[in-house]
């Protein structure tokens, strides 16, 4: 698995497998969209539809939520007495334009979506932005501790017998310090 035998073929093979898995995932995990329901209303009548491709609130009124999707905005009607807001205690009025959300609806004939459950995720944007910080931090640490030598990456400190230098990122035992 880790030998140099057929190394380039292994690398190419793994890349190919990953692309194949992404392709298979795209086929298997593509949930029906509102556009799919409108194309075949009889097939999807009464089915639960997840609105899932980075949905964001465009508008919330008393009667409907307008949600952004790659194919265009999706209007979801709010039924009378709707109580499917998560987490518990949250209200529809908490949803602001631009907020991320999760929404599940039911496709009804002749061709509209009726809200079944919704969860506002206003902190998602902060989650994405703050997650960039550890990527930068770990990236900087990796730049200090990994070198390119003779066609391979090498993790420092390099304890091989022909190492010509020692990084100052190691302690007295030769262990990398963080």
């Amino acid at each position: 698995m880790f030998s140099d035998r057929c190394r380039v073929i292994k690398i190419g093979g793994i890349l190919f497998l990953l692309i194949l898995l992404a392709w298979y995932s795209n086929r298997r995990n593509r949930y029906p969209t509102f556009a799919d329901c409108l194309r075949e209303p009889g097939r999807y009548a009464g089915e639960e539809i997840s609105i899932y491709m980075e949905p964001r609130v465009i508008e919330v009124t008393g009667g409907h939520i307008l949600i952004s999707q790659p194919d265009g905005p999706v209007e979801v009607r709010i039924p009378e007495g709707f109580d499917g807001v998560f987490p518990e205690g949250a209200k529809l009025s908490d949803l602001e334009p631009g907020d991320s959300l999760e929404a599940v609806a039911v496709f009804r004939l002749p061709g509209y979506l009726e809200l079944k459950a919704v969860r506002g995720a206003p902190l998602r944007r902060w989650k994405i932005l703050l997650s960039i910080l550890p990527v930068i931090l770990v990236g900087l640490i990796l730049l200090r501790t990994i070198r390119w030598r003779k066609g391979f990456l090498v993790m420092l400190p390099d304890t091989s017998s022909d190492a010509s230098d020692r990084s100052d990122v190691s302690d007295e035992s030769g262990n990398f310090k963080l």
Binding site: I14, E54, V154
Partner: protein, 161 residues
Amino acid sequence: MPDLITHIAGAYLAGRGMKIARGAALFYLGAMLPDLITRPFHILYPRLLPATMGLHAPVPVFLACWLISLLFRIDQRRPVFWLLFSGSLLHFLMDTAQKHLTGGYIWLFPFSGRQYSWGFIWPETSIRFLPITILIVLPFLAWNIWRNRKARRKDRRPISD
């Protein structure tokens, strides 16, 4: 998923507990890897979500760790792989605690499409707890930095005759 700061905090504490010294940065990279190979794509291009959903699973991440380890010199490939993959497994463990209304994690992809989680917290809850997470990690980090500086000062002291 918890945010990556929470993932790294968990990885840092786990790494200290397991006494991972050499290559700790690769363990932290592993703790972010499942998100790094999926999230940027579907956040920037939402239509890619169905394609990336399956890649956030142990089998594709195993392949990604193997691929990265093959870029290293032969004597380091095995430890690099295990550092990356164990960090990734920790990531999956933390993600399992979440609940979702839509989507979820397909742990046995490509062998099964079943989604499973413990359903304890919503994904953005980790942001609300971030100050507490940082307060927990900071003492360990500070102690480690102080210990390393003490060791370096000891190294530099001249040896008396």
